[in-house]
Amino acid sequence: MKNLRVISSIVLILSVIFLPSYIYLPALALAIIVLPFFWEGVLIAFLIDALYGPGVSSLASIFSTFGFYSAVLLAVVVPVRRRLRTYA
């Protein structure tokens, strides 16, 4: 599982640098949902904003960044995952 997280993080970072947004954004969201407590995804989302964002003019505008949205997604997914059981 640890290797999977590391590989996922590396693949996501490379896709942020080289691939279109309609590939890496859904992949990032999927990784946050599927992998348990994928906190690396929040940092990768902030990396997207740091690389490509138009600039943060004030502290309030940080709430309209991909980093904030991914943190919210993680906060929603973690308790939901805890309540789900998979009988794989």
């Binding site: 080289f18 279109p20 600039g55």
Partner: protein
């Protein structure tokens, strides 16, 4: 004896909140202070991607016969589109503008710093470009960015040592003063993302698809072209939807001027 049980401490929620706060703080630091170094770190990768892509496509051309005609067709279509944009960017009364500028003692601007675009939408989910000219090439934040054919694209948001971030005028929420060319009516262009703009004008204003929207300064650069006009019979205003003359998804070179 005390039969009342203590509530279980809500440690998982507190723990999760603390971790998320820590992540948020780390991300904020990354965003505010490390944006420049991160872009400087990644720029060589984008440059090498462009270099490798050019070499590979050139090599593969040897093995293509029918496909070479298709690529030639695409290249000529692109050239035709660029010439059409250049023609559209030249205002009909260009001679009149030049004489007004001369009367006011203002020189028409020429030249500028040329730069290639390293990253653009759809790779970038925002309406921004990363270009390969920076402060070493006398590029500074706030300078204007144009297409090589003439239309105004945006401004430099951040300038780093050898690269810069361009904020397009079509960035969502960005407001730009402009002029509707048809009757010289001042309007406010509001960016809607994806190279699109939104303008609200009074109902009586005459505006048609294809009308040009120019910048509000003396140069009167082409900024957008009206794509659609929407109005309900009961509305007091018209919603004008305009598009950038540039295809921001495959633009390759830009000009930067103060």
């Amino acid at each position: 004896m005390n039969y009342l049980q203590r509530n279980r401490p809500r440690s998982p929620i507190v723990k999760l909140s603390l971790v998320l706060l820590g992540l948020f703080a780390a991300g904020t630091i990354l965003l505010f202070f490390l944006s420049g170094p991160v872009i400087s770190l990644v720029s060589p990768l984008w440059r090498s991607e462009t270099w490798v892509g050019t070499r590979v496509s050139g090599f593969l051309e040897i093995f293509r016969t029918k496909n070479s005609l298709i690529s030639e067709n695409a290249r000529l279509s692109e050239r035709l589109a660029a010439l059409e944009i250049e023609l559209a960017a030249k205002a009909p009364g260009l001679g009149e503008n030049e004489s007004v500028a001369a009367l006011l003692g203002r020189r028409q601007e020429e030249g500028g710093v040329a730069a290639s675009v390293l990253a653009r939408p759809p790779q970038i989910p925002y309406d921004t470009f990363i270009i390969d000219a920076g402060s070493r090439d006398t590029v500074a934040a706030g300078e204007r960015v144009f297409m090589s054919e003439g239309p105004l694209l945006g401004t430099i948001a951040d300038a780093f040592a050898s690269s810069a971030k361009v904020r397009l005028l079509s960035t969502s929420g960005e407001k730009t003063a402009a002029v509707l060319e048809r009757h010289g009516i001042p309007v406010t262009l509001e960016g809607a993302g994806g190279g699109n703009f939104r303008v609200t004008v009074p109902r009586e204003t005459e505006v048609s698809v294809g009308d040009r929207i120019l910048s509000a300064d003396i140069a009167g650069r082409l900024v957008a072209v009206v794509g659609d006009v929407a109005m309900e019979p009961t509305d007091s205003f018209k919603q004008v939807l305009a598009v950038s003359p540039a295809n921001i998804f495959n633009i390759r070179f830009v000009l930067i001027r103060p």
